[in-house]
Amino acid sequence: MKSVFLLFIGIIIFLSCKKEKVGHQTTPYVLEIPSHFPSMIIPEDNPMTVEGVALGRRLFYEKMLSGDNSMSCASCHSPSAAFSDTAQFSTGIDKQKGTRNSMALFNLGWQNYFFWDGRSATLEEQILQPVPNPIEMHQSWKDAVSKLSADISYKNDFFFAFNTKEFDSTHVSKAIAQFLRTLISGSSKYDVMYKHSNNMTLSTSENITLQTVTPEEWAGYDLFKSLNGADCFHCHNGPLMQVEKFSNNGLDASFTDIGRGAITNNSNDNGKFKVPSLRNIALSAPYMHDGRFQNLDQVINHYSNGVQQSATIDPKMEFAFQGGVQLDTQQKSLLKAFLITLTDYEFINNPKFKAP
């Protein structure tokens, strides 16, 4: 009796004091941030781990996330197009089209707003949207998670990444967000030009690249920066090649899509859209929120003489009163030569970013 009792007590003590079983230890993921970039702020509740990034990459290319298993994130964000879509409007699984052009995905860890109208404030929140969106992947998160749960290898991957056997949409979005934060583009010819112009030390390979910069590319860079030339620099500048704000760059005199205004309910924001980065711009045609321009020539023509006045046009579109910056043929081709230096082949061809 006594020994049974003791044993019983012993078991209780043992059980009650048992430390919570230590699960799998994750491995911290070290981001490779270019020397001329600001540091990246990682949300405290979603630290970067090797396991999380690997899972996120798998999920980004996972067609099970769509209702009929036909579409993944990559369907509208294709690596060869700088993770955007070459179609003006992407087609969802039900053959429906939206009204916005897909956005190129890179350097997302430095964005404060997501989507053309900035309606999401975090990447984690943004990622929850495409799956249930009826004109995109059109599947409830419940169904998406149960499909994934039926796959043992996913169960294991989630366990290794988040130490949980019961995962849900928040884990999916955290993993994809981790993967997206690794999509850093900072090794284009432009980067070498930027670093050189600012007296930063160049590596051996960067020095070799520097020798390949043509006089036309330098002249285009000057024009791009010149506030009396192409005047692009006001909104597209710095290491990210964008100023983080919403702006109306004079596409229309009246708006079919009011953009930011629909989010803030402030008519002073009508016709304003997120200023996009111009990195990898030669790869991410068509252009603008509605993909109205097929190529860079059309974009340059817009800024040159197609600018439309409206109540909310950005005052920094300084030459709007004369329809634009009025570049001549030679200036247009210099500007285009510069825009092409923003293509980052190392980024585009990075095997770590492709389908696993």
Partner: protein, 248 residues
């Protein structure tokens, strides 16, 4: 037997007691706040709202931004190394940090960015107003440095009864030659709650344009980026701005 049970229960309690940490009661820290309220003459200025100059021209401001740097008292005790006023994004709040207001009955420093102007804008700490991520377009891509003052507006200069704000005003003043010293004394810090004191500045945008000594004629003087050939207007803008910005 009862004793044994007692010991066991006791042991159980002890063994599982979490280490209890006694938290000290934090001593409240003194806080300093500095605000800047833009006015148009005697009216409070709101962005995107219409204000009328003495000559009947009308204006809507879309952005008012500026930097102060290296603000200290007379004995070189620093209040802050850089502060960024951004009316659209942060409203009237300018500086907010721990500190004793009584140390700062005077403040001097720069309107604009002094020593840090040509440093790598990516290399400042994440919470620095000079970090490129926090500059909201106030940086010119490293070499020329920061804009010190940015005023953007749209005006209607026709006075014909039709509202048509198609005359753009863009004043971007920066580069070392336009840096201004500022010096404020007898500062009137107000207590706003037990441990916080606040200093309020008034920025009169009407004065920026209408100041007697050197008024700005928006019909002809409406654009500067502080580049060559734009020195006169750049200087006028930043001097007038300095004159129009005062502690209340």
């Amino acid at each position: 037997m009862r004793i044994l049970g007692f010991i066991c229960v006791f042991g159980l309690m002890l063994s599982c007691k979490n280490e209890k940490v006694d938290e000290p009661i934090p001593t409240p820290e003194n806080q300093i706040k500095v605000t800047v309220q833009p006015y148009f003459g005697s009216e409070k200025l709101y962005l995107d709202s219409i204000f009328t100059f003495s000559d009947g021209n009308q204006i809507k401001f879309t952005d008012i931004k500026f930097y102060f740097s290296e603000l200290t008292n007379d004995n070189s005790v620093q209040l802050i190394d850089a502060a960024f006023f951004n009316y659209r994004q942060k409203g009237i709040s300018f500086i907010s940090k721990p500190g004793n207001y009584s140390d700062f009955s005077t403040l001097k420093g720069f309107l604009g960015v002094h020593n840090d102007n040509h440093k790598d804008p990516s290399a400042f700490p994440n919470d620095s107003p000079l970090n490129i991520m926090n500059t909201d377009g106030m940086h010119w891509g490293w070499n020329p440095g920061y804009s010190f003052v940015q005023i953007e507006a749209k005006a209607d200069t026709l006075n014909d009864g039709n509202l048509n704000f198609d005359h753009t005003i863009v004043f971007h003043v920066g580069t070392d030659q336009f840096l201004q010293n500022v010096n404020y004394s007898n500062l009137n810090w107000q207590s706003i709650g037990n441990y916080t004191h606040q200093l309020a500045f008034k920025l009169d945008m009407k004065e920026v344009f209408e100041i007697n000594s050197q008024p700005i004629n928006i019909k002809t003087e409406f654009m500067t980026h502080s580049s060559a050939g734009q020195e006169a207007l750049s200087l006028k803008v930043i001097q007038n701005f300095k004159t129009a910005l005062n502690p209340m």
